[in-house]
């Protein structure tokens, strides 16, 4: 046997490329984060550590309103989507296949298959007509649109959990003469609860991040944080946008970490 250790799994150059990829993935983001604390305006010059841009963004009323609006929409959409998705998951898993089950599956996951721009123009057309007909142009349109495309993101984790679940506990409950509702409330629900929370968080993040659909569907003065940033991007690339992006990034990382921890404890 040769004394040189032979790694079975190493392939030529792969580790290098992988590390380059990681660096390339994070470099722009890290740069953006770092420069959001930059005292000077340009990327080329470092003007000392400063929270100026965060303060400016914080005091900017347009940003404040957009942030609140984003959060409200995300929370509402996530709540609606998760509720609806949980019910749908309960109705389509662990059951002998019935006619139309595939249809339900396709409908529920449809936002994953249709390009966002197509949905965006479709909603633009329909909502414009409704707005003209009813004269109403509240936040409801945005919440409806967001709830719809968040459903698959809530549905998939819950469905995965249900499929992997052991039926014996529920059978035991039934054997003890528990009603269907009681079984659900005291046995099934607690068991799938982590998955529901995970689905809700995913839905929240997805709604928070949406750009295209919101951009097309919104009315006057209904900017969300991403659409506000899109508007800014088409003009100046001020460090203020850097600051907002970093803050949004921070929130996403927080939520994701929570999601990972919850998934871990479940296992």
């Amino acid at each position: 046997m040769s004394t040189r250790t032979f790694s079975v799994t190493a392939l030529p150059g792969f580790a290098t490329v992988a590390l380059v990829a990681f660096v390339a993935l994070y470099a722009p983001i890290v740069t953006m984060v770092v420069y959001s604390f930059n005292g000077s305006q340009s990327v080329a010059v470092w003007g000392g550590f400063s929270l100026e841009w965060y303060v400016r963004a914080w005091e900017n009323t347009a940003v404040q309103e957009a942030t609140v609006r984003s959060l409200v929409i995300a929370a509402s959409a996530s709540l609606i989507a998760t509720t609806v998705a949980t019910m749908a998951a309960l109705g389509t898993t662990r059951t002998r296949s019935f006619r139309g089950q595939t249809l339900i599956y396709v409908m529920v996951n449809q936002p994953l298959m249709v390009p966002e721009i197509v949905t965006a123009v479709a909603l633009l057309i329909v909502f414009a007509a409704v707005r003209v007909a009813t004269g109403w142009s509240g936040l409801g349109f945005l919440i409806l649109a967001h709830s719809a495309f968040c459903v698959p993101f809530a549905y998939l984790p819950i469905r995965a959990r249900l499929e992997g679940m052991d039926l014996s506990l529920e059978t035991a409950a039934a054997d003890l003469y528990a009603s269907r509702w009681q079984t659900f409330r005291h046995v099934t629900l607690p068991l799938i609860f982590p998955a529901i929370i995970a689905g809700a968080m995913l839905a929240f993040v997805i709604s928070l991040d949406d750009v295209i659909i919101t951009e097309f569907v919104k009315s006057a003065g209904q900017d969300t944080l991403p659409t506000y940033m899109l508007g800014q991007l088409r003009r100046a690339v001020t460090p203020e946008v850097n600051a907002i992006s970093t803050a949004l990034l921070g929130l996403t990382v927080l939520l994701l970490t929570a999601f990972f921890i919850i998934s871990r404890t479940r296992d």
Binding site: T31, M107, V108, V126, D209, I212
Partner: protein
Amino acid sequence: MSRTAESEAETARIRRNWALATPALLLLFAGAAGPLLVVVVYSFLTPGDYSGVEWDFTFDAWVQILFARDIFDDTLRLADAHLTIFWRSVKLSLLTTLACFAFGFPTAWFIATRDRRQRGLWLFLITIPFWTNLLIRTFAILEVVRNQGLLNTALMKLGVISTPIQILYTDTAVLIGMAYVYLPLMVLPLYAAIDRFDFRLLEAGYDLYASRWQVLRRIVLPIVKPGIVAGSILVFVPSLGAYVTPRVLGGGKNMMIGNFIELQFGQGRNWPLGSALAMVLLVIVLVALLAYVRAANRTGGVDVH
């Protein structure tokens, strides 16, 4: 249980399942599927003056996808401009998929070959960019490729160039942006496939005196092919319908299908054409997905999650 009692229970069960699924169906019909039907209808109408449509049924929009009537001599020609946009979209999407594969395969391999404890961390690191707002990621690339951005400033400081290289507003910028944005989508399914790969096969290959390249080509690639297909579809489909990235990095001149569709609802003032184009995009995407499902079923299915 008697037969009728059984079938009664069965019907009750099915009814219950449908009842549970109905809210989801209604929500998605109102907020996604229903409007799509409206788009199909609109593609057969006539454009209104500045916006909207006139309810005059016509095939004009569909004809306009490929043909254009010359303004001055009224002849029907092939719409080169449209074809350019389609070609650019397909070309950029294919190149993006290739770039993502070139970087994504080694990355997935790397993660899958770390020891179990480390792996969670690497996966987490790959997932963060994936869940980061698309706009933020596009913006980050903008900062890098601008004339006064990271790349040009670094190259100028190193003395490699004296005036900034114009990358922004070119097809290249869009390609870089899309590859950057969709890379994690290639890595995750590849990782899933490699994770399931039996590394003892590699040992066997080496025992038979195969070189690393031969092992890669003859053993690894064929087995992880479903993962490659999944990753490619996951990158190709969204990049074909990309809107934000080409808009921000392309400067309005290098349009892809998504931007072109948007144009029809804005300055282009041709909602029916926009609707028809949206349908075309949808069909292409569905065909690609169908191909994937076929391929996945043939090789025993791939779990993308």
